[in-house]
Amino acid sequence: MSTGARPVALVTGSRKGIGRHLARHLASTGYQVVGCSRGPAEWSMDGYEHVTADVTDEADVVRLLAVVRQRHGGLSVLVNNAGVASMNALLLTPGTTVDQIIRTNLIGTILIARESAKLMLKSRFGRIVNFTSVAVALALEGEAVYAASKGGVEAFTRVLARELGPSGITVNAVGPGPITTDLTRGVPAPKLEALARRLSTGRASSFEDVENVVDFLIAPESGAVTGQTIYLGGP
């Protein structure tokens, strides 16, 4: 664990959506939370501090984790949430969009995990939670690039779990079903509802569903749970 009185958690993409919800949840349950996004946060609360950083920029990521180390001395939990989506048929998807999705969802996840693990190494304890999507398991048409980026995150999760396991660091992934956030803003409601019906539960995910799984994965007692991908609602 970290040296401070409160264990330290880093939540990427915490300005809004799932990241904001999880950052607030962790801060209210005893964590010192550092959040980040490309822009400043429009909210605040006790136990939360925001750092402006772009997860796709390696120098920015190094600087972010240096801030965490210098202010708090270590890191116990990483919620590797930052992500972007662009739902469109591949034949209509520009290369710049492909690049942006892969950079944020896959490369950003990798860079943040690498620098976070360096902080966790010394204390021989860490919990890394990456974010994937049911789009991978359901092979959703219209989400080829997004699903490819998240498929990469799943493979990365399994391999990193092996690399960091001997150091007491677990690495898992959670894949929410459709959930109403800015990420799904451009998707028509009937399409989201149809997607939800394809899941075993037949319903969309909620922030509380994600919170519940994250709580389980980051618990000190979950040291034997690693390399797993948990899909909410099914698939």
């Binding site: 390696e58 120098a59 190094v62 240096a66 180390r69 210098q70 360096k118 190494l121 010394k122 001997p166 150091s167």
Partner: protein, 101 residues
Amino acid sequence: MNDGAIVDLIVETVEGYRVSTGGEGGPVARETALFGPSGALDSLGLVSVLVELEQKVADRLGRTVSLMDDRAMSQASSPFRTVGSLADYLGAQLSGGASGR
């Protein structure tokens, strides 16, 4: 930071790692092998020491270096063989003025 100070920093870090993990071994000096059959560290220990060195350089010198970068991995002769070879590699990064990233 001169060569002697860099060697001292590495020795301090290796010995600190040994203490923190309850490891044993002889005195650490410039010619000490870091890994291999007679090395002072296992693979996890080597990674831990390199990470801590990066952090100490950042804290004490305000400089960002990356010891585990492509240049290190692609060299025919690993810069991580001994305390001395690592000191040379770190010294070159510091004197080169490169951020390493």
